[in-house]
Structures are given as structure tokens and as C-alpha cells.
Amino acid sequence: MRFHSVRRGACVMLGAAALLAGCGGGDGSGGGTVIIGTGQDPKTLFPPASDNIQARVVTELIFERLADRGGSLNTLGDAGFVPRLAQRWDWSADSLRVTFHIDPRARWQDGRAVSAEDVRFGFAVFTDTIVGARTGADLRAVVDSISVGDSLTCTVWFRQRSPERFDVLVTSLTPLPAHLLRAVRRDSLALSGFARNPVGNGPFKLVNWEQQVRLELAPSPSYAGARPALDRVIWTFAPDASTLVKQFMAGESDFLENLSVDDAAAAARQPNLRVIRLGSFGYNFLQFNLRDGASDRPHPLFGSRTLRRALTMALDRQLLVRSVFDSLGRVGLGPFVRAQWSADTTIAQIAFDRQQAARLLDSLGWHTGADGIRTRDGQPLAFTLIVPTSSNPRQSFAVLIQEQLRIAGVKVDIERLDGNTLVDRIQKHAFEAAMGGLAATPAPSGVKQTWTGAAARDGGLNYGRYENAAFDAQVDSAISAAAQASAKSHYRAAYQIIVDDAPAIWLYEPPTLDGASARLQLGTLRPDAWWMGIPSWSIAPGKRLPRDAAPAKTP
């Protein structure tokens, strides 16, 4: 989980069947070319070092993991997980070990068979702190070690029986080609030629990568599964968002993710384009700092639960969401998203009620002054809200909130900061209120790292330092529950507590809108990891363009 601009976290395949079966490759004239517009280059194609979204997109098409989440988005145990590199897996009786059986047909793109040793090597690299893999800490926390049985079997030894241990393992670990990388010093792996010319084992291989310009993938001939239908997948990079949109609208690219609502509306008006709305894993909120800056004193305003609730009541969240997203966004419900299995739409919300908000504020001694701003002991009811300039919706929300709270007699000063500065300020607790956003994963346990008391200390991610022992206890119970039903009831109780305490105003789940050319046959897009469906994409017959017949440059 992370503070983010709207980005989607790791995810699920809605039916690996589509991936494996929806293949076949087009007609006699070849599979065609798809051009995808995107804002940034991958920094590196070395999976442990891939820390931007584009790097993930590309590496996850070049490299395969042992297994992946299934359509249910379940993260508990291994229910619903689909085999990928591993054909199957067996649990030990004590469920602390799982043994993977690797597909004997799996090959690296240099022809070498994928072996169990590659899994163990991958684990060693991911967990080596010198490599600095982002998922290394998660892996280390869950997995003790990996042992190799024979060339096609390896056994993973877990540290404890945490319900999400299988999910963490398969989503955090990418097997790596030991025969190519063993000799490279660990600290220069990310800088090695491999990071620019990776040798993977997935459905695609890298053809060409010109930084700032384009990156091209083609089906990997050594891939054991079904060959992707497309002949070429090309990303073009443009730093300017409006350029990307214009490129897409002009038909120069076939696919563009994360359209703004207005762009989506414009695209929908064009007959050759369509807009795809995906489930969202992000949720955004106005976060209060419950302490006074970085000190331990309560914040003079937001230390008060009543005041926080009053502010929440003063906002018409439905109107806010409609103003920014038209009918596309959804009001936030709490520290979770609707797409998570733990989600509960029946949590009692603090409803919009201007009169009640006014009464609460009056009761706290904040009375309306001459300029319409409430004061108490000569102090105005005012606070500064920090907003990242990188996010248009969050800026819009901030402006609208400023106006709605002004009506309630609250003065909001908006301070716009660039993403890095904002994160820096938040991490140092140097803020009063922030327009926050989190990218959830299908695993609801992430709430522990973001809203519990434990996360409020020692550099945790609970930047507003909300602490409620009852909430923490419910979250802990939910996480350690092995059965989904009991986990769900604990999550529900926890969500209700935090919503009532209002450490943040839950604002919205941003819509995820992707644009696609009508000539693309996409099947069903995964709610977040849409790119995992690329192997099954194809070009509609009769809508082929000259570029579909253009051959790739031979390297």
C-alpha cells in the first residue's frame, strides 16, 4: 500500500483461462500490432528493482511467477489461485511448507529449462537487502527459506501460519535465471545489462527499448503456454498528459490507461474509441493529523473526535464526487475499497447534515464571527490542507471542500505541494490535514500498516496517528482468522469503529477509466492488472491498419 496518485496495485486474473485459451493468433495476415501510450519509461526491467508501474507492466509480461491470484480476488490461503510457472503445489500437514512442481516445459528465453534452483535464487535475490527489492521485506517476514528438491520441485518454508502467506509469496517473488545472474555481484544486478535486456520466461520477450521513445515486446517463441495473438506490443512514451490523450484520440495509439473523466467523455463520443471502466483499488480521503505536528500533544482542532465528526457532517460527499467524476466515481466508505473481499457497504456512515454539524461546532464553543468564520477565544476555526499537484481529482476535491467548509464557518487554506514534498511533509507529520490516497491491494490486511496504532509509531504509514485499541484488536483478529467468514466479521467491526472515530473523511474511490481503440478485441480486462490480459488481445478482423502488417525490426 502506498500514498499514490491513482495507480492500481498488484492483482488478479479474472480467469487465467482467458489467458491460456484465448489465444490462437489472428488470421493469415498475422496477429497485428498494438500501440499503448504511457507517460513514463520503466526505469529498469530487473524484476526486483522494478518500482514504477511501467516496469511492473513489462516485467510481468516477460517473467512468470509461480502462481497468481484468481478471479475471486481472494487472498486467504491458496483458494482460487491459479498455476502459472508451477503446475501444482502441495501443502505439508502442518501447512508451514508448500512444495511447488514446476512446469517441465517452462524455458528461459535463452533456451534453458526453468529449474527449482531459479526459484531459490530468485528468493535469495529478492530478500538480499543489498539488492533493495521493494517486496523483499514482505517476503522476509513471511518466508523463512526455500529448499530445492529436484530440478523441478522446490519447497517453501513459512515462518508462521499467517492466512495471507501464500498470497505474499506468489505476488512478491519472481523466479530469476540463476544460470545468467549467479555470477553477477548482487549490488550491481540492477545496473547490469540484464536490467535492460532481460531474459524472461513469460509469454513475451523484449524486442527493443529506446528510452523516452518506445518499448516493444513480441511473443516469446520459447514460451510453453499459448502464443499471444498479437505480433507486436509497443509502448510509446510521452511525458505530457495532454499529448498522450491527443495521440490516443488521433488513433496513433490503441490503448491509454487512466483517462480523466473529461477525456473519457470525449473519447466516448468518438466512434472508433471506447472507454472501459475497471474496478478500483484506490481510495482517497481527507486525512486529519490527530497530533500537533510531529509532537505528541493532541492537535488543537483534530484532537477532538466531535470536531472531526462535525467536519465530516458538513461535507456533502455525494455532491463532491458527482462534481468531480460525474456519475463515474463512488463515495468512499472507510479504509477499504468495494473490490476487496472484506468490503462492507452496510457500515453506518456519518451522513451529510449541515444543521447538525453547526450544532456540534457551536457546542464545542466555535461561534460564527463577523466574516462568517467561526472563532473560539479569538482563534479562528481554520486549518491548512496540503494537496499534491500531481493529482487533478485531489486538487478539485480540495477546492470544493474549501468552499463547502467555508459555508460551515471553517476556513481552509489549501497548500499545493509536489508529490515528493507532500510525502516528505506527511512522513514527518508536518501537516494539519492532507488530501491522502492509498492504493489498496486485494489483501485487506494492508489496513494494519496504515491505520492501526502500531503503524502510528516508528515510521509507520499511519501518518495521522489515529490510535484506538479496540480498532487494533479487531484488525488483529481479522488478520489472524483463517476462515473468511470470521475474518469478515472482524473487519466489519473494525471498519465501523474507525468510521465512527472519523480520523479521516472518506471521500471517494476514483474510477479507473481506460481508453481502447474499437479495433482491439480485449476480452475482459482485469480490474487492476489489465496488462495481464495482453496475451489474449487481438485485432478485430476488418479493422486492421497498415501497422498491423509491419514486421518488427530484427534485432
Binding site: 499514490h4 537487502t129 523516452q212
Partner: protein
């Protein structure tokens, strides 16, 4: 001439060295660091961050970093770009030629158009059409580059589909084209970004050139040419124009910084993968070695460009050429 060249070269080197030092100091005195960007990511722990800082030597005292950087520069090594995970030198090898192409095309087109316009204005001085064109040139010069670029992107590219919206070549078909096809492909992509810069260059050049020509027309030798029986065209083009060209080369040298500045906007808006766009992205990613390299490239280009302009304009004048 040789002494002139040597002196000009030494001066250029000194200026570039000073630019390097100033830029280094500015960048490294700044709060924040190259790995701060990844603080966005909660998995980037403080320990990991410290490890990165140590690994790349950002925890050393500034003078030490400076000396190391200078030493590397002397060996032609610009350092490692964190945001691109490559040697800065490799990045420059890719981006600099593209910016040269863009600026070169803009310069050639802009200067030729400016020359033509300025010469025409001088020959037709005082006519309503000439006055209108002069006002237009002044107006064009008052439009910021990014506005011109946005307009060029919005209308000829996005609305009328006359030219590609962005990039340097067709992403799918360029590689399978014939040599002529490729050249045409790049030209198509070049028209709008280079045209934007050329438009502004032409406006600037025409204004300088018009007044240079007007200053030249009362010259005796132009009258001589007329007295020989040369028509207005021959008198203006063959005689006045050739004499106005020398100073113009210097002016073009002075235009280089503006042109480079414009390239920053144009490259960003048209996704032209050159130095300007590289700089904007490097600034966004706190990629200090890349930022520094970009500044150096910019100033080297400007310094060498104006030195070259000085030399060329000296060569263009036979009165100075004799010493060569």
C-alpha cells in the same frame, strides 16, 4: 586568426568550467536527494535510502563529491543516471543528436525563412504588406513557445490530422521502411516541433535582418550596383544581402540560448525525446547527474555555437578572413 581562435576557445572552456561548478553547487546544496522520489513508496525504508545514498557517494562531503565529479568529467564520464538506470553518457549519446536534429532543422528553416522575409521587407519597405508582416513578426515574438506548441498540437496535429501528434518516428512501421521512407517518417514528425521553433526563429531573424538590410541599403555600393543597371532584386539580394549576412551569423549565435530554452517546452509538448525533455524529466526525478549533464550540454551548445558563429561571421567577411 589562429590567436583569435585560441582565445575564443579558451574563453569558451573557462565559461563552461564555471557553469559546471555553479550548476554542481546549486544542485547539491538543494534539499532533497536523488532517492527521495522513491520515498513515495513505503517499502523504501530509511535504511534502504541510506544504503542508496552511501552507494552513490551522496553521503560524502560536497567538495569530495565535486572533485570526484570533475575527475569523472575529465575522463568523459558523466556519472550514472538513477532515474534511467543507465550511464549518463549513453543517455546523452541518444538525446543530444535528437535535439541537434530538432534545433538544426528549426535553425535552418527559421533562418532561411527569416532571411527571405527580412530581405523581402527591406526591398518592399514602407508598403502596407511589409508593415503588416513586420507587425506580425513582432506579435509572433511575443507569443511564448509553449503557446505556439500547444496550438500546433491542438490544430494541425490533433484536429486536422495533418501531422503526427508526438514522437520522433512511427513506433510500429519506422523500422520496416526504406531509407527514403524513414527520412520522410522522421521529417513528418519533425515538422510541427521544428516548425514551432522555426516560426519564432524566423520572426526574430527577420526583424534583425530587416533592420540590417535597411542599414545596408543606403550604402554606396548598393547605389553603385543600381548605377550598373542592377534591378532592385539584384541590388538587394546580391549586394545588400551578402553584406548583411556576416552580422546575422552572430545574431543567430545569440539566438541559440533562446532556441534551446524553447526546445525544452517543445520537446515536452511534442514528446520529442531530446535533451530538453530529458532535463524536465530529470528535474522531476531529482536525477542530479542527468540534470548537471543537461545543463552542461546546454551551455556547451550555446558557448560553442556562439564561438562558431563568431568564427563563421569572421570567415564570411573577407576583410577579416585575410588573416587566416
Amino acid at each position: 586568426m589562429r590567436r583569435f581562435l585560441l582565445a575564443r576557445g579558451a574563453q569558451a572552456l573557462a565559461v563552461i568550467a564555471l557553469v559546471a561548478t555553479l550548476a554542481f553547487t546549486l544542485v547539491h546544496l538543494a534539499p532533497g536527494d536523488p532517492f527521495a522520489a522513491s520515498l513515495d513508496d513505503p517499502t523504501n525504508t530509511a535504511a534502504l535510502h541510506a544504503q542508496q545514498m552511501h552507494r552513490w557517494g551522496y553521503d560524502q562531503p560536497l567538495p569530495v563529491q565535486y572533485l570526484k565529479w570533475l575527475g569523472n568529467l575529465a575522463r568523459g564520464e558523466f556519472g550514472w543516471s538513477h532515474s534511467r538506470n543507465r550511464r549518463v553518457a549513453d543517455v546523452l549519446l541518444e538525446t543530444v543528436p535528437r535535439t541537434f536534429l530538432l534545433m538544426g532543422a528549426a535553425l535552418v528553416a527559421g533562418v532561411l525563412a527569416g532571411l527571405a522575409l527580412g530581405t523581402w521587407q527591406a526591398a518592399r519597405r514602407g508598403t502596407p504588406a511589409e508593415r503588416a508582416s513586420g507587425t506580425l513578426a513582432t506579435a509572433v515574438l511575443s507569443v511564448p513557445e509553449f503557446l505556439v506548441a500547444l496550438a500546433a498540437l491542438a490544430l494541425p496535429a490533433a484536429r486536422w490530422h495533418l501531422f503526427p501528434v508526438s514522437g520522433i518516428a512511427d513506433p510500429a512501421m519506422h523500422d520496416s521502411m526504406s531509407a527514403i521512407g524513414r527520412a520522410w517518417d522522421v521529417t513528418r514528425h519533425l515538422v510541427l516541433p521544428a516548425g514551432t521553433l522555426a516560426l519564432l526563429t524566423a520572426a526574430g531573424v527577420s526583424r534583425y535582418h530587416r533592420s540590417a538590410m535597411l542599414a545596408m541599403l543606403p550604402e554606396e555600393f548598393v547605389r553603385t550596383a543600381r548605377a550598373k543597371g542592377a534591378g532592385e532584386y539584384t541590388a538587394v539580394v546580391r549586394h545588400a544581402l551578402r553584406n548583411a549576412l556576416g552580422p546575422l551569423i552572430t545574431i543567430v549565435g545569440l539566438l541559440l540560448p533562446t532556441l534551446f530554452g524553447g526546445a525544452v517546452f517543445v520537446e515536452t509538448i511534442f514528446s520529442w525525446p531530446g535533451v530538453g525533455r530529458m532535463m524536465v524529466e530529470a528535474v522531476g526525478g531529482n536525477d542530479y547527474p542527468l540534470v548537471l549533464a543537461g545543463v552542461l550540454v546546454g551551455s556547451v551548445l550555446v558557448v560553442l555555437g556562439s564561438a562558431l558563429a563568431d568564427v563563421l561571421s569572421a570567415l564570411a567577411d573577407p576583410r577579416l578572413r585575410i588573416e587566416a
